[in-house]
């Protein structure tokens, strides 16, 4: 199943009892859609590419700006002005030529999303705004595609996993029911690069666990990370029977 070059590349995975050749073959077969190539998407994409996830689809409509470089560690100073997806695709292909990386360089509306989800086993929400997060949750619920949500602001990080294959699972909307609330984002509140990096790395970790079949402990949970104290809080998200997205219609 794995070529000689892959046996060497992934040798530190193959030594893991919980992963091994069987898990590596699952990673090779996996198709992951990563939305948002910013502070979360940078480490998440790099780790999933390095880990040998066979098919990555990366999505972002922004070009690289100087103010991104404080936290979006996949990019270089001489790349300002170029499309992030193009830069990321080049970076990932250089990192791991064994995988395929496809780009979506526009803002996806629902019909295109639905088509993309037919090609995805798992979605990572690495975006930076609430309306897009609500759209991603809704299409993933409708398409029954599991969703790993990361977010960060200031010194705080949030991480959740919603297994939309499971009809009893909660969804993002059960926890965050509004698209129109005043929002905190990185450009109005600031964020520490290493904090958003921790959260993006954890999205990659959970993705790898889910793909190889190690139980995710963030399913139907919200994990809150405090970058100042390094403390974690963990909350259960129950399915809201009246949820506009996943509740009984």
């Amino acid at each position: 199943m794995l070529k000689d070059s892959e046996l060497i590349r992934y040798s530190r995975h193959l030594l893991l009892d919980d992963l091994g050749a069987h898990g590596q073959a699952k990673l090779k077969k996996a198709k992951v859609l990563i939305i948002g190539m910013g502070g979360l998407g940078s480490p998440a994409s790099l780790y999933l590419a390095a880990a040998g996830v066979g098919s990555l689809t990366i999505c972002d409509f922004d070009s690289l700006e100087l103010s991104n470089l404080q936290r979006q560690i996949a990019y270089q100073s001489d790349e300002i002005g170029s499309a992030k997806v193009t830069l990321m695709q080049q970076r990932l292909k250089k990192l791991n030529p064994e995988i395929s990386v496809r780009c979506i360089a526009n803002k996806m509306e629902e019909p295109q999303f639905n088509l993309e989800l037919l090609l995805a086993d798992l979605v990572l929400d690495c975006t930076d705004n609430m309306p897009t997060r609500q759209l991603i949750n809704r299409v993933c619920f409708n398409g029954k595609v599991p969703l790993i949500v990361g977010a960060a602001i200031r010194f705080e990080g949030h991480l959740s996993f919603f297994d939309h294959k499971d009809p009893d699972a909660a969804c993002y909307h059960c926890y965050a029911p509004s698209s129109v609330d005043p929002q905190l984002n990185c450009s109005n509140s600031g964020v520490l690069g290493a904090v958003v990096g921790v959260m993006g790395s954890l999205q990659a970790l959970e993705a790898i666990k889910i793909i190889v079949g190690i139980e995710s402990t963030v399913k139907n949970k919200l994990k809150l990370f405090d970058g100042k104290t390094l403390q974690w809080q963990s909350f259960t998200i129950n399915k809201d029977p009246n949820c506009q997205v996943c509740g009984k219609k």
């Binding site: 705004n129 609430m130 029911p177 905190l184 958003v196 259960t236």
Partner: protein, 65 residues
């Protein structure tokens, strides 16, 4: 009755979540709340009655990345 909010003890009158948040001038919009480790959906806040010794975790929903 006694409850804790983000690990600080508070003495309050019996009230709903929504009334309590109004009483302490905490914004409803953009907030999330867990009681004893379980997220309580915002649609329940007007009718959900706080109980003695409830442990509340009040925080903001964040969307950045």
């Amino acid at each position: 009755m006694k409850i804790t909010v983000n690990e600080v003890e508070k003495e309050i009158q019996p009230s709903s979540i929504e009334q309590f948040l109004k009483d302490i001038d905490s914004p409803i919009k953009g907030s999330a709340l867990a009681i004893n480790g379980v997220i309580i959906s915002r649609v329940q806040w007007p009718n959900y009655q706080l109980q003695e010794n409830d442990s509340l975790s009040l925080f903001q929903v964040i969307a950045g990345g």
